[in-house]
């Protein structure tokens, strides 16, 4: 459950806290999304949107880590192996 997709903030409507909205683009389609739960976002940020409400912001650095996960694991394994070799 919890169908939520990432979209890019194109504009922010500077209304008060709970009514703060922004225009968000999902691959070109645009929808007005409530932004009150992501108070720190600015135009250009990517937010995770569920039923018309942004529930989180994409952490761009963390977003890329998965692509290196296996490689990093492999490097760690090699490091451990080479340490073990030295011991022997």
């Amino acid at each position: 459950m919890c169908l939520a997709i990432p979209g890019k903030i194109l504009s922010i409507n500077a209304l008060d806290d709970t009514f703060r909205t922004g225009k968000v683009s999902f691959g070109g389609i645009q929808k007005e999304v409530n932004l009150c739960m992501v108070p720190d976002v600015v135009i250009g940020d990517y937010v995770l949107v569920h039923v018309g409400v942004a529930i989180g912001k994409v952490d761009e650095e963390e977003a890329n880590k998965v692509f290196n996960y296996l490689k990093d694991m492999g490097e760690v394994a090699e490091l451990v192996e080479s340490k073990e070799e030295k011991i022997y």
């Binding site: 919890c2 691959g27 949107v49 569920h50």
Partner: protein
């Protein structure tokens, strides 16, 4: 409708004595006479209609295809067209899918009392446009008016006839193992164009309906490839998945698709993601599926891609001996799943 096929009719709306259609206009009496004489139907004038018989008298010699369809869509105006476009193109395309050259159409309206003349006029202009582009004549028709609440603004029925092209041999019985499945363009555009206006689900987009006449494109293909085109169908309600499931069940052959080959507009794809809809089940209008002999698949595709309505055409799969009677799809990451019949209307989800 694609821009390059839109005929710009210079058609100012005639002056009418009335702004809305009333029950009296359909009663068969004076008001009906006034509606007919108002000039609103003049836009559809042709020699056959002008005979003013109860029915159209035309001459046709040869094997004939005959099709009917009713159009009840809401909203009646949507990005890329209106119910009038659908009413003409829909029946033209059904005939074309039988391998016929659509020639004559009937046109019947059921109008809800209170429907605005301005809207009716716009629909008639679209009907005229679509018929002109498709090269068909509307030769007989009918108009009824129902009480408010007994209709949904306007319903249209069109029926059509056309002679079957001598080279066409289109029937699911002709489908063989090895045949290639081709789709003529981006899928799911029409359904998502409608969805973008739907109350409670609306979104801003450039998606437009793909409604268009397939007649000239398909006749050219039949001319070139003849009976090597084994089967064709336009995947309207229920989408590509429904057509493929129907023929899989009828032929008891296996239909294998590759997700990565499905052509889809970026915004249509995004809208489906947002609402949790599967584009394979979303309605299309000016799109067709063809199942063709393997040897001609590539030249067929190239010919289609060189046609204005076919530039996004693609080979999306093939007919196999495995999983008989089923439609199987290889996902974009390589795993396989079944594509079943849809149970009822596809609904947006939060889950």
């Amino acid at each position: 409708m694609p821009q390059n096929s839109r005929v710009q009719l210079q058609c100012p709306m005639p002056k009418f004595d009335f702004d809305v259609i009333t029950l009296g206009h359909g009663s068969g009496g004076l008001l009906t006479h006034r509606l007919l004489k108002s000039g609103v139907f003049d836009i559809l004038k042709n020699d056959v209609l002008d005979q003013q018989h109860d029915g159209a008298v035309v001459e046709m010699h040869g094997k004939m295809a005959f099709s009917t369809d009713s159009y009840v869509i809401s909203p009646i105006f949507f990005p890329g067209g209106n119910i009038g476009d659908l009413a003409v193109n829909g029946t033209v395309n059904d005939l074309t899918m039988c391998g016929a050259i659509p020639q004559y159409l009937s046109l019947a309206f059921i109008i809800e009392e209170g429907f605005e003349m301005k809207a009716f006029w716009e629909i008639l202009v679209s009907i005229k446009n679509a018929a002109t582009i498709a090269g068909v004549s509307i030769v007989t028709g009918d108009t009824k008016v129902v009480e408010k609440g007994k209709g949904d603004k306007i319903y249209i029925n069109t029926s059509g006839v056309g002679l079957v092209h001598p080279k066409a041999l289109i029937h699911h019985n002709n489908i063989e193992v090895g045949d290639q499945i081709i789709v003529s363009g981006n899928i799911a555009s029409h359904g998502m164009a409608i969805m973008s206006l739907r109350e409670g689900l609306e979104f801003e987009t450039n998606i437009i309906s793909d409604t268009v006449s397939l007649k000239s494109t398909v006749i050219k293909l039949i001319e070139t490839f003849g009976s090597d085109i084994h089967f064709m169908r336009d995947p309207t309600r229920g989408g590509v998945a429904s057509v493929l499931n129907e023929i899989a069940e009828l032929t008891q052959l296996g239909f294998y698709l590759e997700h990565k080959s499905l052509p889809i507009d970026e915004q249509v794809d995004a809208a489906c993601e947002m609402l949790g809809l599967d584009p394979l089940y979303v309605a299309n209008e000016g799109l067709f599926l063809a199942v063709v002999k393997k040897e001609i698949a590539q030249p067929f595709l190239t010919a289609l891609q060189n046609d204005p309505i076919g530039k996004n055409a693609a080979i999306i799969g093939e007919v196999t001996n495995d999983n008989k009677g089923k439609v199987i799809m290889k996902s974009s990451i390589g795993g396989k799943r079944m594509v079943t019949y849809l149970t009822g209307e596809q609904l947006p989800r939060i889950c």
